[in-house]
Symmetry: C2
Subunit: 287 residues, 2 copies
């Protein structure tokens, strides 16, 4: 057993799936779930994602060997402060936020008090939310990025790595800044663009969308509060990515306007080559 | 039996699926497939998408009650001229091109010689191509747009409508211009943007894309020659759609740069509402 007691704060899609997966692979003996709504706590218990529940972070972390903050990006700094106040020496503090620079800086403040901090970002999930959508297989064949902060130890990174590998993920270690820059392009920009695309269409176009429009805009169904927080937390890198994107739109528009159809073809072909070479493993986790 | 003999010129994904579906629903007794590669003609025969094959359009249309031009947009005008030369009076001339203004004008030139012309655009398909990907169910729960030209007759539109309904599609009748404007937004712009998105990412971002990036860019795998031709054939409407899109990107960029996070949230929420209200029926035809 890798961990005796694990506390998961925020038992939604990611937190709930982590609970189910860690239990299914015997990577944790006992899981305590923390949330602010009794109904979702009850549902997490019923689904077997947690063994016990609590409405109080400080009380729920005292026995834990690993505390995972899995609520929204905006709440993680406050949760980290509460958790750090109640954790035992040597226990590991982690989060699963979609941005890492700001959060890891917050977490590192607590890491200085002898608490190993390991930021995490599993590249899994969907536009669905909540414990209802959680499943033990969510992380199979996915990548999980670890961003160890100043307060990390090799031992903590190693234990966290083994836990993710046990539930099917491959680990990549990045600095928080590299993480945020790479994810701005690979995840946050696509989300913004899917939304902008929908907002730019005239109303009468919408009913003529086939599978192409549906797939291209699927992620725009994500929760707007959560994505506002991600945009705010990763503002600088997302703005860089948007500006590169704007330049590329203009390159295409100019080729089309100039009737340079072979240039249009070359641009489409360059995109096709990139699409065809995207890593394929994660297809298995498509909803 | 709606049609005795149907000739399909171009037996790829759409042409081949039409052959399979019309046979499966007994909407045509005999289907002649025309192509320029003997190997794909042989495969179409083996799969039962056609009963006979030919390499010569004029010879293959003499007995036909319905001729369907299903090759790429660029070839349809030449194919229409060849077909019109061999068709019997009263037979219906159709195409399945993704753009309609230019093609329907070409087809209408032949319609003036007593040939009822009915342009068609089934909103089905995928980034896959060729007879290998064809299936009888491709059009189930999809929309097919008809754009009857000057040379159309009510009887021809009615027969074509019944054939599409027999194979599971719902018919919408539009003018060629409305079709091209609506599809520029609903289909061509998403394709362009998926490609531009990929081209704008730095190389090191690409391996961090999850299901979000994969879904958002799926259609960019489409054939670049085919899409160059669609872009050229619908240039004006696509440029309009790109310019509206550029304005909307700039609206979002300014809100994010100005740290107006509630405006960011409102834009994401407007997109979410539009996404959640897209017509859902066509989901069943997702690849």
């Amino acid at each position: 057993m890798l961990f005796d007691t694990v506390t998961i704060v925020g038992v939604g899609l990611i937190g709930g799936s982590l609970g189910l997966a860690l239990k299914a692979k015997n990577a944790a003996r006992r899981i305590i779930g923390v949330g602010h709504r009794e109904s979702s706590m009850k549902r997490a218990l019923e689904r077997g994602a947690v063994d016990e529940t609590s409405l109080n972070i400080e009380e729920a972390v005292g026995d834990s060997d690993w505390v995972i903050l899995a609520a929204s990006v905006r709440l993680i700094p406050d949760h980290a402060a509460l958790a750090a106040g109640g954790m035992k020496p040597g226990a590991i503090l982690s989060d699963v936020g979609s941005t890492k620079e700001g959060i890891c800086a917050e977490l590192a403040r607590h890491g200085h008090n002898g608490l190993p901090v390991v930021g995490m970002h599993p590249l899994a999930g969907s536009e669905q939310r909540g414990i209802e959508a959680a499943r033990a297989s969510l992380f199979e064949s996915t990548t999980c990025i670890l961003t160890p902060g100043e307060g990390s130890t090799d031992e903590a990174v190693s234990k966290v790595t083994r836990a993710w590998e046990a539930i099917g993920a491959t680990i990549v270690v990045l600095t928080p800044e590299d993480h945020d820059r790479l994810l701005a392009g690979a995840s946050h920009l696509p989300h913004v663009i899917a939304g902008v695309l929908l907002n730019s269409l005239t109303e009468d176009c919408l009913s003529y969308g086939g599978t192409g429009l549906r797939d291209t805009t699927r992620i725009a169904s994500g929760n707007p509060d959560l994505w506002r927080d991600i945009c705010a937390a990763n503002r600088r890198h997302i703005l860089d990515a948007i500006e590169r994107f704007q330049n590329e739109v203009e390159v295409f528009r100019q080729a089309l306007a100039a009737e340079d159809d072979e240039r249009v073809r070359d641009l489409l072909n360059a995109a096709k080559q990139r699409r065809d070479n995207l890593p394929a493993a994660r297809l298995r986790n498509r909803e």
